[in-house]
């Protein structure tokens, strides 16, 4: 496919700052089991911890040998500046994540990070609605901790298919203004999809942050569209997924379709999830095209 003369992805939405990424040999502090096949992997990585911002990710080398070959990207879930700890919230579903879930305290692994563009933090106090679908809760303990440090009013909508797939409440930072729990099967909280009832919450918000399956985020963007016109819409930032190889823009594997600025119906350029994302403004993505592609490495 030949590209027409159109703005580059970096010109359109910006790109990550690779000068901050460092390679560090991290030491596993422990792996906590948090639900059915869900784990929080805690590692000591003081250099990366000191640089990690909410929504950014690290590339974890699961094995020094050739299987699995590629690193695995995970968003920073929690971050503790006193101890130099960062954590990753993951489901043990593939070769890499299963191995990570079996790490033992003292095990070492290479980490490259921080990578990608994270969430933007507010400059003035206001209300943030934070929406998590299942594993999409991963980046939010860190994000909400930072928001609360800035005296932001934080509403957290924690959704999953069922109770065993919910991010555990006891690990959430203290001080949330409101916690809404939804499960699709009604096994905890209100029965329904995480996007149910979001319109009213969004209307009162200054910012909406969301992470979850790409289909959920697409539905959320449609609801967000209903918050206008006529009123100032909340800023909407979503953290998305794409099959990722390197994490720093050279393998070109994690292509994501971008939209041209509002009003231009032409197909926008492909960006990279690792450089333009994983966090983007919800309007920057071409959702119908994004939904056609897988979200994980095959």
């Amino acid at each position: 496919m030949t590209a027409s003369s159109q703005p580059s992805a970096a010109d359109l939405v910006g790109e990550s700052d690779l000068t901050l990424a460092v390679e560090e040999v991290a030491t596993c502090l422990g792996v906590d089991s948090l639900g059915e096949n869900l784990f929080e992997v805690l590692v000591l990585a003081p250099r990366i911890q000191s640089l990690a911002e909410p929504g950014q990710f690290a590339q974890l080398l699961v094995d020094e040998g050739p299987v699995p070959l590629l690193r695995r990207p995970f968003s920073f879930s929690r971050s503790d500046p006193r101890s130099g700890m960062v954590s990753f919230y993951l489901a043990a579903v593939g070769q890499g994540s299963r191995r990570l879930s079996r790490l033992r305290p003292g095990d070492q692994l290479r980490m490259l990070g921080p990578l990608g563009r994270g969430f933007s933090l507010p400059e003035t106090r206001g209300t943030s609605v934070v929406v998590a679908g299942g594993l999409g809760a991963a980046p939010f303990p860190l994000l909400m901790t930072r928001l609360l440090q800035g005296d932001e009013r934080v509403v957290f909508v924690n959704g999953a298919r069922r109770a065993l797939e919910l991010y555990p409440e006891e690990r959430l930072p203290r001080g949330l203004s409101s916690l809404v729990v939804r499960t699709e099967d009604g096994s905890r909280g209100q029965a329904g999809r995480v996007t149910d009832g979001l319109l009213d919450l969004m209307k009162g918000a200054d910012r909406v942050y969301a992470c979850g399956p790409n289909a959920m985020l697409s539905a959320l963007v449609e609801i967000w569209e209903e918050t206008g016109p006529g009123v100032e819409r909340p800023r909407l930032e979503v953290s998305i997924e794409a099959p990722m190889g390197c994490g720093f823009g050279t393998c070109l594997g994690c292509a994501i379709p971008l939209r041209l600025p509002s009003g231009d119906p032409a197909e926008g350029p492909l960006g990279l999830c690792c450089r333009q994302g994983p966090v983007l403004d919800g309007r920057e993505l071409d959702w119908p095209r994004l939904l056609l592609q897988p979200s994980h490495l095959g």
């Binding site: 030949t2 080398l61 393998c251 070109l252």
Partner: protein, 308 residues
């Protein structure tokens, strides 16, 4: 003996004035145009940078998914995403001109005039140390694959040779019955060296979907440690057949791997897929090779060569 006073000639002369400071380069398609590594601080010490495949016009590449992981390897079907030669020659080369590492531009095209135009545009540009013709990208189909037909490959190289005085490497595809026949053809047509090998055609299947993981025909280029023995065999065969330098590539991720290629007959090597999971590894590969050279009192990398 290791204690003899022997100085290693670390440089590698690939001909036509292309002298690499050391034999460990980074492969096309695994290092962009070097700017990510520049920001991450991992270009110092490289023997050469072989850029992403560059075409006459910009290409946005294939629709995702583009990559998949396999046992000790990965499949890619990027589709030659690149900004086009005007940007490369007009903007990127200026930045390379101040780098301590030679930058060799990998060139791709769909017909002879395409290749010739790209190579001409890059000729006489400061910062461009040489060209590597990609006659074997498996991920764009034009019904014509120069790399699998010795006569076609020879005609292409002859045309490019007549259009540029830059050092000219030709990157060969292993997806042929006899790689040496293509190697001989490009040598006769004036190539200064060959790079061997490009990716192997491969496929990954998703049984639940009863279909390949990657779109289109489902085929893609296989790289990584999985192909190293295959690539070594190709390099050894080419060494027996050719007189020109060989740049070996295929699954190199350690000094041991690189030394194996030098023994098999390569004059220089490229670290490829390992750049994705071990950014900066080329410097470690070089360090390991230098230690080996010192411990074994090598005076030149050619001392390693297998001479059956």
């Amino acid at each position: 003996m290791a204690d003899r006073d022997v100085t290693l000639e670390c440089q590698v002369d690939l001909g036509r004035g292309l002298v690499l400071p050391n034999p460990i380069g980074v492969a096309s398609g695994t290092f962009g145009y070097g700017f990510e590594a520049e920001r991450m601080g991992t270009i110092s010490g490289l023997g050469a940078i072989y850029t992403k495949g560059t075409t006459l016009l910009p290409r946005s590449g294939n629709h995702p998914p583009r990559i998949a992981e396999t046992t000790a390897g990965m499949l890619n079907s990027i589709g030659l995403q690149n900004p086009g030669v005007a940007v490369v020659a007009g903007e990127y080369a200026k930045r390379w001109a101040s780098w301590p590492v030679p930058v060799i531009v990998n060139v791709a095209g769909s017909d002879i005039p395409d290749y010739v135009a790209v190579c001409q545009r890059l000729t006489g540009i400061e910062g461009v140390a040489g060209l590597e013709l990609n006659i074997s990208c498996p991920n764009i189909s034009h019904g014509l694959d120069f790399g699998t037909d010795p006569a076609q490959a020879g005609r292409l190289v002859e045309a490019v040779r007549g259009a540029t005085d830059l050092p000219l490497l030709v990157k060969l595809t292993p997806n042929v019955t006899d790689i040496t026949s293509v190697g001989r053809a490009v040598e006769a047509a004036g190539a200064d060296g060959v790079t061997a090998v490009n990716t192997y055609v491969g496929m990954k299947i998703a049984v639940p979907q009863r279909a390949p993981v990657l779109p289109g025909l489902g085929t893609a280029g296989l790289s990584g440690p999985a192909i190293k023995p295959l690539a070594l065999a190709a390099v050894a065969a080419l060494r027996r057949a050719l007189g020109i330098p060989i740049v070996g590539i295929g699954g190199i991720g350690s000094a041991e791997d690189a030394l194996e290629f030098l023994v098999a007959g390569a004059d220089a090597v490229q670290v490829g897929t390992a750049n994705f999971y071990r950014p900066g590894i080329a410097a470690e590969v070089l360090e390991g090779c230098l230690q080996f050279a010192q411990a074994n009192a090598l005076s030149s990398w050619r001392d390693l060569r297998w001479r059956p």
